[in-house]
């Protein structure tokens, strides 16, 4: 036993640490998703001068609606799991998984902190450290189309199929913009690994401005946010679902299958928020906080314990994630829906040229600064 451990020490420690990280990080994401379903209703209510859900109670304790996600889950589980007679049973069953799995898999690449020393073992606070993580992110978010399209097609319902077609067209289009907005970042920081990207954002411009993505690529940030909301299929780009009028791809779904689609949408909100924080707002970086503590531009320093630094960094990442999730909710409840031709026009006639122009300008500036030969 001990011999086996000694012989495979590295791989055992690595897999153990990975399992713990997956459990903790994904568990955190899942709980946050459940809270987000409540937050969406609460935020929208507050924006519309309402109170929002506050009646689900356990032993008379309502806690301002905190039990509503549980009540929703119980309701979803107890609903009839209906499969239309003409539906393709296999694909109809698989589609929710296709929607949920790529989104969950994406969290593996997101660094939620720098590193922690645990009993002399350096624990990277990222589930999978992949050098080309940015491309994995784009590839996996491209896979999310399958969930939409298979779900709509396998239902054998014309309205669902139309919704799926709208969804496929929209997601393929905005995928392009999403990818192109990130090219500028890769050019500036010279890396496609998310952890490297975040570390590079810890540098200072002119000695006092943090070199966050939003500072060096402000146009790309706005384009990324628009394209990411469109990828996410949320209002103002929710023609894929259009639950109130034009009926979406999951109209034949009920019970937990429907819940899987809804859940994947909420997970995507967190994902977009985390990506926005990681790529453009310095991820876990706190301005002027380094391994040893705060070093302000004036030269003042404040030494901090390693664990406090790590906690501050993870906390910073969480705050950014929560902020962007909230921001996406506010956007969703503020803007009316686009028409489909407007949606396509916005993507191909406005966002795509702007994204290409952004790359061109970035390249020209880098060339002028002599950063590339």
């Amino acid at each position: 036993m001990i011999e086996f451990y000694e012989a495979n020490k590295d791989i055992l420690l690595f897999s153990g640490a990975a399992a713990v990280k997956v459990l903790l990080f994904l568990g955190g994401v899942m709980s946050f998703t459940a809270l987000l379903t409540l937050a969406e209703r609460k935020v929208s209510a507050l924006m519309q001068d309402r109170v929002g859900p506050n009646r689900a109670s356990v032993f008379g304790l309502a806690l301002n609606g905190l039990f509503h996600p549980i009540a929703d889950a119980i309701k979803m589980i107890l609903k009839e799991d209906f499969v239309p007679g003409k539906a393709e049973k296999l694909l109809f069953t698989l589609a929710p998984f296709f929607a949920l799995v790529p989104v969950l898999a994406l969290f593996a690449f997101i660094p939620f902190g720098d590193y922690v020393m645990v009993f002399g073992y350096q624990l990277e606070l990222q589930i999978a450290e992949v050098p080309l993580a940015l491309f994995y992110v784009l590839a996996l978010s491209g896979l999310a189309i399958y969930g939409v399209f298979l779900g709509g097609w396998a239902s054998k319902n014309n309205f669902a199929l139309l919704g799926a077609l709208r969804g496929a067209a929209q997601m393929v289009s905005y995928e392009v913009v999403l990818g192109l907005t990130l090219v500028g970042l890769m050019m500036i920081y010279g890396t496609a690994g998310l952890q490297d990207l975040v570390r590079a954002q810890g540098a200072l411009l002119f000695g006092f401005v943090p070199a966050w993505g939003v500072v060096v690529q402000p146009v790309a940030f706005i384009l990324f946010l628009i394209a990411a909301i469109a990828e996410n299929k949320r209002t103002p780009f929710d023609l894929v679902e259009g639950e109130s009028e034009i009926i979406g791809y999951f109209m034949e779904y009920s019970s937990m299958r429907f819940a899987a689609f809804m859940f994947s949408e909420f997970v995507e909100i967190i994902l977009v928020a985390m990506l926005a924080a990681t790529l453009f707002f310095g991820g876990w970086q706190v301005p002027y906080l380094y391994d040893t503590g705060f070093i302000l531009p004036g030269g003042k320093a404040l030494a901090l314990n390693h664990y406090i630094v790590a906690a501050l960094q993870v906390g910073s990442f969480s705050v950014k994630t929560v902020f962007f999730s909230w921001f996406l909710l506010v956007v969703r409840w503020t803007l009316p829906r686009f028409r489909f031709d407007q949606l396509m026009g916005l993507c191909w006639k406005a966002l795509l040229p702007l994204a290409l122009l952004n790359i061109l300008v970035t390249g020209a500036v880098l060339l002028a600064l002599g950063k590339i030969r």
């Binding site: 924006m47 309402r50 956007v331 503020t334 803007l335």
Partner: protein, 184 residues
């Protein structure tokens, strides 16, 4: 005469056409509402009904739950004429008439049910009543029950006077009272 409002749709200027400044303006509005309501929840107009109620304005008090007025001797003012049941557009009143054994002048309702789950609170029954026997001025708002049976009001639940109310007014009451007094 139909009034026509001419909308002056001017062409959007550049800042409006690129949409982003207008989005920021819209977000400012919704975020202001969000934060104002977040830090001052008491300022919202919502009332936690049915635990909380608030006083009804003006004549809305005359569209509250029904009651049947009671005479001084405890008998219902209602003479079971079926006028309210006929006037009711929602068919929520059910009356079964009966006669007083000792009083051949008028009838009384042996059964008087109002199904509040069907009632539309229109007040037609009050207007139709020739005896001023039914009123909708209890200031109680019906609604919110877990079972349909709880929404069904019978005669016992309906019969009551408001505090300090004179109970012997009304044209046919005079007849009935004279009769009853003569009998005494």
């Amino acid at each position: 005469m139909i009034s026509v409002k001419k909308v002056n749709n001017r062409p959007l200027n550049f800042l409006e056409r690129i949409y982003l400044p207008e989005i920021a303006r819209g977000l400012a509005v919704t975020m202001r509402h969000f934060f104002v309501n977040l830090f001052n929840p008491g300022g919202m107009p919502t009332v936690q009904y049915p635990e909380q109620t608030r006083p009804l304005p003006g004549n809305a008090n005359l569209r509250t739950r029904h009651r049947l007025k009671v005479r001084a001797d405890g008998s219902p003012k209602c003479v079971a004429c079926f006028m309210c049941q006929t006037a009711c557009p929602a068919y929520c009143i059910h009356i079964e008439a009966a006669e007083y054994a000792e009083n051949s002048v008028e009838k009384y309702p042996a059964v008087f049910d109002i199904d509040l789950s069907r009632c539309v609170m229109c007040g037609m029954c009050v207007e139709a009543c020739p005896e001023d026997a039914i009123a909708m001025d209890t200031r109680e708002i019906p609604g919110g029950a877990l079972h349909r049976g709880e929404m069904l009001m019978n005669k016992e639940g309906l019969l009551r006077n408001l505090p300090g109310e004179p109970s012997t007014l009304g044209a046919s009451n005079r007849l009935a009272n004279e009769y009853l007094e003569g009998k005494k």
